[in-house]
């Protein structure tokens, strides 16, 4: 029997360009990611992964109508639920 597993929650890094999701959690909310929170990446916010830079990093995402560039290490901390 084939088991098809559809992961519901992934990190932003694992998403593909063009995909949209909703932020579930930002790992490391001990102050080191406060900038991400201040920029509006709080749980429940929709996020769209637009593209990767030509060398694979950083990534471009859209949150609250703002386009942001994030490095992969930062994208790894953002957990996203597919919509």
């Amino acid at each position: 029997m084939r088991v098809v597993s559809v992961p519901m929650i992934r990190t932003l890094e694992e998403m593909e360009p063009g995909e949209t999701g909703s932020i579930v959690w930002v790992v490391g909310a001990d102050g080191s990611v406060r900038r991400l929170l201040d920029l509006g990446l709080v749980p429940g916010t929709p996020i769209r992964f637009v593209r990767r830079a030509p060398l694979g990093c950083p990534l471009e995402v859209v949150v609250r109508g703002t386009h942001l560039s994030l490095r992969r290490t930062e994208a790894r901390r953002i957990h996203v639920e597919s919509l």
Partner: protein
């Protein structure tokens, strides 16, 4: 000096009433601060309101630039306008943001808390910009909310109910377009009014946090104009600030600092999400405001233009190609377009020197004016074309939004060295000249990255090193084909490469030692494409050129006068007087060529006998292990005025005139000079390589030192730069010379 916040205690209501503080005419004008997120059009509004009446300084002790201007309001009242740095949050992530927080809470020594805050938001991104706006309004200072880019918002079908917004926020709201000048008149009228602080409470925090804040706010020293609500905001700012922020250490009493640590730990235990909920709570309040005041008449349209442009500019193949072409064009312009203007300045300075020299009798005063002062002014003004051209391009790139895309493309590569994509352009510009390159590091927001970039920029081989390379390669490197390259070309390329590789190593080392610490988040906004505000472009170019002339120029002038003195005194001695009589006799006899030769000999004698000449000999033991003699020692000293001066100094040392003929005869002279002790050739190809390596790596440019001092606002970094670069240069040349001799190449 009296602390502004203490003055404020004696005069509790100094704001819009125009109260004068006794004895200080500067404090008589109310202070209005413009504040907003980066890319909100804040600076365009500042330029629109102040025009050319701007002043740029620094906040005490930090690299952050302080821009103020004078505004006359409709009633004729004049206010000082302060352009605070763009910031995302009251919880600082950079020195810029720390300044904003300190100024707003009245914690800054030299800038009082503003009497009115004009908060600028991008109306097309109202929800994200309101995040900070709500926090600022909450502090309890008088605020005016300016909805900027209202025309763009309308075009996108966003309708904002100003009145509803005013009621909900409790502050005056005005729609403007800073680029087009729409609504700026209304804004000026509102700035003229007595604006009251908002009394609206936007949200409640969970009881645990509220209790902690009450406790903390109670313990903070009572001073300044801070309201009770503001004190609670200061408390939360301090609580959230577990970074390396010394403002707390400066302003909060010791027992409060200990409390902070304990309270933070307690909160982490009983309520682990408190930090995230701080942000979430504000965004929930923002959503309430948005629901009440903003409606979209049409479905949110994606910015199609942006999509189309980005698809090309950040394309996997075309993106980098276009970037390289654009960089090539900029580099070429800074390098080439500036040179006719620079030649013109050079000619003008020479002409001025001739006029002044002709008008004055021969003597120390003429020498001081012509070779010291006028040459020093020339050494400063000569940089202005490059600075102006580079900043013209940079401000257009910043204004259109391409700068962020360039950083997006280059981030991966620069990340390998521990820097961000924004460091690329300053470093590239440094190949033309490190001065504009170092000035361009202002676009790097992380302080450590910025200083690292400043420290490695002078390793890029600048155009002033080219004449030195050309002289030495021309004299000592034979034209042999190596594959498809010639040996001279290969050597020149190696010099550039050596600089780059050393820069990479130094960046790596600095990021692990002096500039270690913190794991900055490299989050960057990619703003929409816009037409740049030409007014702002013009003002930036003008401001950068002027700042350089004024701040760095004074130091460059001073150093060149000192260098002039060192190279001219104590004069040629008795032997020189004999030469002078010979010159007079030759002149009388009309022997022009003999006069030239004798004059060159006299100049050479003067230099060799001068303090610089003696220092060159004194230096000989230090530079001998590198293969250099006292003649090169003199050139190393005088080339501190500018690296290319090395060539003319060598010519003078050899009694050659410093014209074009001199260059060729100097090349021959270098080849044939013999060491009087051994009778062998004094300079070999190995000496040339060792000397070139020294020129690649050493910090020999007073203008670079002056600009690093100005940009870092401290002597620490320029002094470290001199020590580090010259140390590395010495070691590298030592390795080349000694290693080469061991291999039998000397």
């Amino acid at each position: 000096m009296s602390n502004p916040s203490e003055i404020a205690e004696i005069h509790p209501l100094p704001r819009t009433t125009g109260t004068t503080f006794a004895g200080d005419p500067e404090a008589a004008r109310p202070l209005v601060a413009i504040l907003g997120n980066p890319n909100s059009g804040k600076s365009t509004l500042f330029n629109r309101l102040t025009g050319l009446r701007q002043k740029v300084g620094n906040y005490a002790g930090v690299t952050v630039e302080k821009k103020t201007g004078l505004v006359t309001l409709p009633s004729g009242r004049r206010v000082d306008l302060l352009d605070l740095p763009g910031t995302y949050s009251l919880h600082p992530g950079s020195p810029d943001e720390m300044i904003v927080r300190d100024v707003l809470f009245g914690l800054n020594h030299d800038t009082p808390s503003p009497d009115l805050v004009v908060f600028v938001v991008d109306a097309t991104q109202l929800d994200r910009h309101l995040f900070l706006a709500l926090q600022i309004i909450q502090i309890g200072r008088p605020v005016v909310l300016a909805l900027n880019m209202i025309d763009a918002a309308e075009a996108q079908g966003i309708a904002i109910d100003e009145l509803a917004l005013e009621r909900r926020l409790g502050v005056p709201v005005v729609s403007i377009s800073a680029t087009k000048g729409i609504g700026v008149g209304s804004l000026r009228r509102i700035m003229d009014r007595d604006v009251e602080p908002s009394t609206v409470a936007f949200r409640a925090r969970p009881p645990q946090v509220e209790r902690v804040l009450d406790h903390l706010a109670e313990r903070l020293p009572r001073r300044g104009l801070l309201s009770d609500a503001g004190r609670r905001d200061l408390a939360i700012a301090l609580l959230l600030d577990d970074g390396e922020d010394d403002a707390i250490a400066r302003y909060a009493p010791h027992e409060v600092q200990d409390d902070l640590k304990i309270l933070r730990r307690r909160l982490d235990e009983i309520y682990p999400e408190w930090r995230m909920d701080e942000a979430t709570g504000v965004y929930e309040a923002v959503e309430d405001v948005m629901k009440l005041a903003v409606s979209r008449q049409s479905e949110a349209r994606p910015d199609l233009l942006r999509e189309r442009i980005d698809r090309v500019l950040t394309h996997r193949i075309f993106g980098p190609i276009l970037f390289v072409l654009l960089m090539g064009a900029i580099f070429q312009s800074v390098f080439e377009w500036a040179s006719p203007v620079m030649d013109l300045i050079d000619g003008g300075i020479g002409w001025l020197g001739g006029i002044v020299g002709g008008a004055l009798p021969d003597g120390p005063l003429r020498s001081l004016l012509v070779d010291g002062v006028i040459a020093g002014v020339g050494a400063t003004v000569i940089f202005v074309p490059q600075i102006a051209i580079l900043f013209l391009f940079l401000s257009i790139m910043e204004g259109t939004g391409y700068m962020a895309r360039a950083a997006f493309l280059m981030d991966r590569i620069m990340g390998r060295v521990g820097l961000s994509g924004r460091a690329f352009i300053p470093l590239l510009s440094s190949f033309a000249c490190a001065i504009p390159g170092i000035m361009a590091t202002r676009t790097i927001d992380n302080r450590r990255d910025r200083i690292t970039t400043i420290m490695i920029a002078p390793f890029m081989s600048c155009s002033a090193r080219l004449p030195v390379y050309a002289l030495l390669i021309g004299a000592f490197v034979p034209k042999i084909w190596v594959g498809f390259l010639t040996l001279p070309g290969l050597v020149l390329f190696s010099m550039y490469l050596l600089g780059i590789l050393t820069a990479v190593l130094v960046a790596w080392a600095l990021k692990r030692t002096a500039l270690r610490g913190g794991k900055p988040l490299y989050v960057m906004e990619l703003p929409p494409y816009r037409m740049p505000s030409w007014r702002s472009v013009f003002l930036t170019v003008r401001e950068r050129s002027w700042l350089f002339l004024r701040k760095a120029g004074t130091m460059i002038l001073a150093v060149s006068v000192v260098l002039w003195f060192l190279a001219s005194y104590p004069g040629p001695g008795p032997e020189g007087r004999a030469l002078e009589t010979k010159i007079e006799r030759a002149e009388a006899a009309g022997q022009t060529s003999r006069v030239h030769a004798l004059t060159a000999e006299l100049q050479g004698l003067t230099l060799r006998n001068s303090f610089a000449g003696r220092a060159g000999r004194f230096l000989e033991p230090v530079i001998e292990p590198l293969g250099f003699d006292w003649r090169i020692g003199i050139a190393l000293i005088t080339s501190f005025a500018a690296r290319e001066v090395m060539v003319s100094t060598m010519a003078t040392v050899y009694n050659l005139g410093d014209d074009d003929d001199g260059f060729h005869s100097l090349r021959d002279k270098l080849r044939t000079t013999t060491d009087p002790k051994t009778g062998e050739r004094a300079y070999s190809p190995l000496t040339a390589v060792s000397l070139m390596v020294f020129f690649v790596l050493a910090c020999q440019c007073m203008s670079t030192v002056a600009i690093v001092r100005r940009e870092t606002n401290t002597w620490r970094w320029p002094l470290l730069m001199i020590g580090m670069m010259n140390g590395i240069a010495w070691l590298a040349s030592f390795a080349v010379w000694q290693g080469g001799r061991l291999l039998g190449l000397g």
